[in-house]
């Protein structure tokens, strides 16, 4: 029993970080209806920026006041990713649909290749020695704050405009919504929180390398929000938990560990065939959750 409990504690940060990552992608793909497949890039930028701070820029300060340093590192990671999101968004958000998807894949890879060739952060060898300074409560708090602020965002005028862009760009334009601005806003907010996830990830792992931020990470993040239910924040949480849990659970059983990726692929296919709109619908009907008063049906 204690074995499982300690396993939970060991894996909890990964679950929480993936929840943040999924929620961040949900802003772009779910709320704004864009098709971004390069999210791993922003995850990477946040991780490297934060780790760069605690390891390369201010290691003594980090040793003295770890929590403050960690908080600073998180903000630095978020700022760096937000900037990356802006730089990538400006050329890419001109494109629509599948073209945007392909362009984001390209930029995600470019970010990875740039990191792969940057000696200052260890290039292909990676960046080791990241201090172990993230208490579980910190990650949990970060997750809660992320979910809370994103929920606030979507239930505000900014959120409504972002949703309007998703629902009908042309009508939104006619209602004086600057579509380009709100697409960029969603993109930057999404990349910003991906950066937070990255910062926490780096300090949870103590080691990061460019190849841990490849296309498959973007795919996994997308899988999380699609499995949960695109556009729903609760769905993002559920999807993140499920998609994180499956490989870990499979890894536990010696017989299945070898073929766990195969099983993962099969499960991906089966979930999509069963519930293409995600699992949040299933959950809602199971719990028969009463809708919030402001959204009650007339």
């Amino acid at each position: 029993m204690t074995g499982y409990l300690s396993l939970v504690f060991e894996l909890a940060p990964l679950f929480l970080i993936n929840v943040i990552l999924a929620a961040s992608l949900n802003v772009i793909n779910g709320f704004c209806g864009l098709f971004s497949l390069g999210h791993a890039g922003f995850f990477a930028v946040g991780a490297y920026a934060a780790a760069g701070f605690t390891v390369l820029v201010a290691p003594e300060f980090t040793a003295q006041s770890p929590l403050i340093a960690l908080t600073l590192a998180c903000f630095i990671g978020m700022a760096a990713s937000a900037l990356a999101g802006l730089l990538v968004g400006i050329p890419c958000l001109r494109l629509t649909g599948d073209y945007l998807a392909v362009a984001t894949v390209g930029f995600g890879e470019i970010i990875r290749i740039v990191l792969l060739n940057t000696e200052a952060v260890g290039a292909s060898r990676g960046l080791p020695g990241i201090p172990d300074i993230v208490p579980l409560w910190f990650t949990a708090l970060a997750t809660i704050l992320t979910l809370w602020s994103l929920n606030n965002l979507i239930r505000s005028s900014f959120g409504r405009s972002i949703l309007a862009v998703r629902e009908d760009e042309i009508a939104a334009r006619s209602m004086r919504v600057n579509v380009r601005f709100y697409k960029t806003l969603a993109f930057v907010v999404g990349s910003m929180f991906a950066g937070l996830a990255g910062a926490l990830f780096a300090h949870d792992r103590q080691f990061i390398a460019p190849n841990s931020f490849g296309f498959m990470v973007s795919v996994q993040a997308l899988l999380m929000i699609v499995v949960g239910g695109l556009g729903s924040q609760a769905g993002a949480v559920i999807g993140a938990v499920i998609v994180t849990a499956i490989p870990e659970l499979l890894r536990l059983h010696p017989a299945l560990a070898e073929i766990r990726m195969l099983i993962f692929g099969l499960i991906m296919i089966m979930i999509m065939l069963w519930k293409p709109d995600g699992l949040i619908g299933v959950l809602r009907s199971l719990l028969r959750k009463p809708l919030k008063p402001e959204r009650a049906h007339g």
């Binding site: 793909n29 098709f35 050329p91 890419c92 494109l95 599948d98 073209y99 998807a101 392909v102 362009a103 390209g106 930029f107 890879e109 470019i110 290749i113 042309i170 795919v219 997308l222 899988l223 699609v226 695109l230 070898e258 073929i259 990726m261 195969l262 993962f264 692929g265 099969l266 499960i267 991906m268 296919i269 999509m272 065939l273 293409p276 709109d277």
Partner: protein
Amino acid sequence: MTIVFTEVVQYLINGIAQGAVYALIALGYTMVYGILKLINFAHGEFYMAGAFFGIVAFSVLGLPPALGTIAVMVATGLLAVLVERLAYRPLRHSNRIAPLITAIGVSIVLLEAARLIAGAHPRPFPQLFENTVYELGTWMPALDGVILQKTQLVIFFTTLVLMALLWFIVNRTKWGRAMRALSVDFDASQLMGVPINRVIAFTFFLGAALAGAAGLLVGMYYNQAEPYMGQLAGLKAFTAAVLGGIGVIPGAVLGALFLGVAEALVVGYGESSYRDAIAFAILIAVLMTRPWGLLGKPERVKV
């Protein structure tokens, strides 16, 4: 950097050979996208499957080259038809993202299956014939130093034959007409009685057969096959299809040849380590300036 004529010719030969392979793969992407507006992420795995089916056909079953090639193409085509039936068709009327996720899932399944069966390391591809090296200098003094391998000739020849066949099928047969109709107006075609399911299955078959042939040719060329070969090649072929105009069949060929030659030139005159980055650079450049590709047309939205 001096430009030597014979060097350029050599790079062109190598580049066109590589481009021909990309073209065979790219055609599959573009045909499926043209009809279903779906980027079949698993397509690279059909190429990989072709190489491994080739090993089975020639090493295990000992088939003669021509028959073996046809067998491999049919096998890969049927694999794609199966995948389409099980993983894509059920989602044809659902949202746009679900089939993409399934496609990625299929890609993972096929790759992992190959890895588990054949191991993660490259497996030897049987030598089907002696790879004679022709020194073109003996026929044309101006081309002194340029070499052409028999395997490259086989690639050129096979690709030409297959593309001629494809052209014929698409432009001169009922099935081809149905494919073209579907890609222009899916709903109207359906209402006109085009058997959608069969035409789509046929499209997948064709695309995968070509990709399988490409895999076989590459296996022959490098004398090996490995489970991960479809990942990078698939991405590059997709880039080629986008460059030429996604959904436009001649565009796929044009884009692929362009990419193949560009890669060869970069390897020859620049840094060989940048070879893979060329595909990305081209992709980004195309998307930023002319996303509908060389032979495509920009889409107009009706208000």
